[in-house]
């Protein structure tokens, strides 16, 4: 009899420790990065590190502003491309697609999630870089193809499976009664989807988009292969950029070779973590508002 209670107790404590461990991991990483960033924080003021545009490690200048801008630009472009496409795809898959089409296409999209980052990068070099060259000439400017747009397109492709998988699930869980009610009142299927189902699924859709964003912020290899890696804040999508993950990956090799470089890169990692964290907090606030909106309304 006691043994059963003991097993119950152990199971719950085990799950608690697993949860605590996962949560602690983020804190451990953040603290570790902070400790390793102390050398450079003690030498340079924080405002210099974050807002200075001059990146000359050999002169001791480590301004991260171009890289912050690079990250925001590339992620922004990726999400502008990805969000509409993904939402429309998931609505189609959940609402309109005949069962056979859905069962063929869904696994294919899930497969996208399994493709290694490097493969996306190679695909980007071979296909996307020439593509952005043509797009640029269609708009009247020229580019050698290694720019924000290439990075954004490659990133959008990597984010598709994440957003589509979650969005499709979310839309499918909207109670069928809501759709039936709308259709019974004479709406078309699209009206029902647009006005009723999207509201029911809004919280989940936002969560899916946030997850996509989070993946987009951190993707390193594929983006650095096509984005141009020029340490200057971009002023258009046809200019090269240098996102933070690319900075860290490219210059990992200099960590032991130039004084303070290792510390600067780890500080860049801390900044990236902070950006993702701020974004998650902001998204969570929006999510709470949306959910509260439904509870009251």
């Amino acid at each position: 009899m006691r043994f059963r209670r003991l097993k119950d107790f152990l199971a719950s404590r085990l799950m608690l420790s697993a949860t605590v461990f996962s949560a602690l991991l983020v804190i451990v990483i953040a603290v570790g990065l902070y400790l390793k960033s102390r050398p450079i924080l003690s030498v340079q003021p924080l405002s210099n590190l974050l807002f200075s545009s001059s990146w000359h490690p050999l002169n001791g200048e480590f301004g991260l502003y171009p890289f912050l801008m690079g990250t925001l630009w590339v992620t922004g472009v990726a999400m502008i491309i990805a969000i509409p496409l993904c939402l429309l795809t998931s609505i189609y898959l959940a609402e309109y697609a005949p069962r056979r089409v859905r069962s063929t296409i869904k696994p294919m999209i899930d497969l996208l999630a399994g493709i290694p980052s490097v493969v996306y990068g190679l695909f980007g070099i071979l296909l996307i870089v020439p593509l952005t060259r043509s797009i640029a000439s269609a708009f009247g400017t020229t580019t050698n193809g290694y720019n924000v747009l290439s990075g954004g397109i490659v990133l959008a492709m990597m984010v598709f499976p994440v957003i589509i998988a979650i969005s499709t699930e979310v839309i499918e869980t909207v109670p069928y009664g809501m759709r039936e009610a709308s259709l019974a009142l004479g709406s078309t299927k699209w009206q029902a989807t647009k006005l009723v189902v999207s509201r029911g699924a809004a919280a989940g859709l936002i969560a899916a988009i946030v997850l996509g964003f989070t993946r987009a912020f951190g993707e390193t290899m594929a983006v650095l292969m096509v984005v141009g890696n020029v340490a200057k804040a971009p002023s258009s999508v046809f200019e090269p950029a240098y996102p933070l993950p690319a900075l860290i990956a490219n210059n990992y090799g200099e960590m032991m070779s130039v004084p303070l470089y290792g510390s600067a890169l780890l500080f860049a990692a801390l900044v990236l973590l902070a950006v993702v964290f701020l974004f998650s907090v902001g998204a969570r606030t929006i999510l709470l508002r949306v959910e509260r909106g439904y509870q009251l309304g």
Binding site: I125, T141, T142, V230, E254
Partner: protein, 337 residues
């Protein structure tokens, strides 16, 4: 634009204030606008030089920068691409490109001639505006290796390839390095590298010390680093494994910088570094031996608009500096004037 409407609905139903909604709408609009417009990138021109460099911390970039003057890889301006193969592919795709590459990526391993799509730019060593007979050794790998070995091709951009570890080489790694410095040298010319002279090899062996490992050689050796040395190391690890089947290798590329960082942090036994060692690295415990020699070359696209003049006139060091460091020369026609 249904998405925009749905987005608007989502924002409305989220309960955000009117001001908040306006801000959000403006943000989306401005993102949309700037993403379409922009006169960024290059501003046209059939002859605009498109400069490329390496994004990863590498020996080729550092060596090339040293050749141009007392510069470092960070001083090389241009679109930065990851890895030697990546840089080559970029040059192959862009008619107006100029980049740099290691010998064994510019020349085909088997045939010894230059690979297709890309051409090596001869260096006008005496600055007389044309490539004389004694400056013309780019036809195939054999002639080129001889020029590097005799010092006719300047050093930099020719350079020693080094193997680095923290503190000192130990155990089977030490025996492997010893083998590279003795028997391994005979494979160099065939693969496409300049072997060490007897004297150089002895100097490097002296660094290793004389104690030889008595027991049978077996275990794992982890090696990472320069793309430049990767082909040779692939050959060496294969040959050594044939001699000592108990020894297995984990070999990866990733750039000279990665090789150095991996070696100094103890993640690999041997780091391949295709450049000189910095004082800061020595302070961090770097110990190295030189094992072979190769070179970096400037490369352009095979369909470059002024290719014929480039091949007959070559480019001087000053021209390279103008392209990569100062940006003073931006037109292909000015290069060959």
């Amino acid at each position: 634009m249904h998405f925009l409407e749905s987005a608007k609905n989502a924002v409305k139903s989220s309960g955000a204030s009117a001001a908040g909604r306006i801000c959000l709408a403006l943000l989306m609009l401005s993102l949309f606008a700037t993403s379409l417009g922009g006169c960024g990138g290059q501003t046209g021109g059939e002859y605009l030089i498109d400069v490329y460099t390496r994004s990863d911390a590498c020996g080729a970039g550092q060596t090339w920068a040293q050749y141009l003057g007392n510069y470092t890889q960070d001083d090389l301006k241009g679109t930065a691409v990851y890895g030697d193969p990546g840089l080559e592919e970029a040059v192959r795709q862009d008619r107006l490109a100029i980049g740099y590459s290691n010998l064994n990526y510019a020349y085909d391993m088997v045939s010894g001639t230059q690979i297709s799509g890309v051409r090596v730019v001869p260096i006008d060593l005496n600055g007389n505006g044309r490539i004389d007979a004694d400056e013309d050794f780019y036809g195939n790998k054999t002639v080129l290796l001889k020029a590097i070995a005799t010092g006719v091709y300047p050093s930099p951009p020719a350079r020693d390839e080094n193997l680095v570890t923290k503190g000192e080489f130990k155990g089977i790694a030490k025996e492997f390095v010893r083998w590279i410095l003795t028997d391994g040298q005979r494979y160099c010319s065939e693969v496409g590298y300049v072997p060490l002279t007897e004297e150089q090899a002895e100097n490097q062996l002296a660094k290793l010390g004389n104690e030889e490992l008595e027991t049978k050689l077996e275990g794992r050796i982890a090696i990472s680093g320069a793309f430049a040395l990767y082909p040779m190391m692939g050959n060496w690890t294969e040959e050594f494994h044939k001699l000592h089947p108990g020894v297995r290798f984990d070999l990866s590329a990733g750039g000279a910088g990665k090789g150095m960082t991996d070696a100094l942090s103890g993640m690999v036994d041997i780091g391949m570094v295709s450049r000189g060692i910095y004082p800061a690295e020595i302070q961090n415990g770097a110990f190295w031996v030189s094992v072979t020699k190769d070179a970096v070359f400037a490369i352009v696209n095979a369909k470059n608009p002024v290719l014929q003049e480039l091949l007959t006139k070559g480019m001087t060091r000053q021209a390279f500096t103008d392209a990569w460091i100062t940006g003073n020369v931006t037109d292909w026609r000015d290069v060959t004037r």
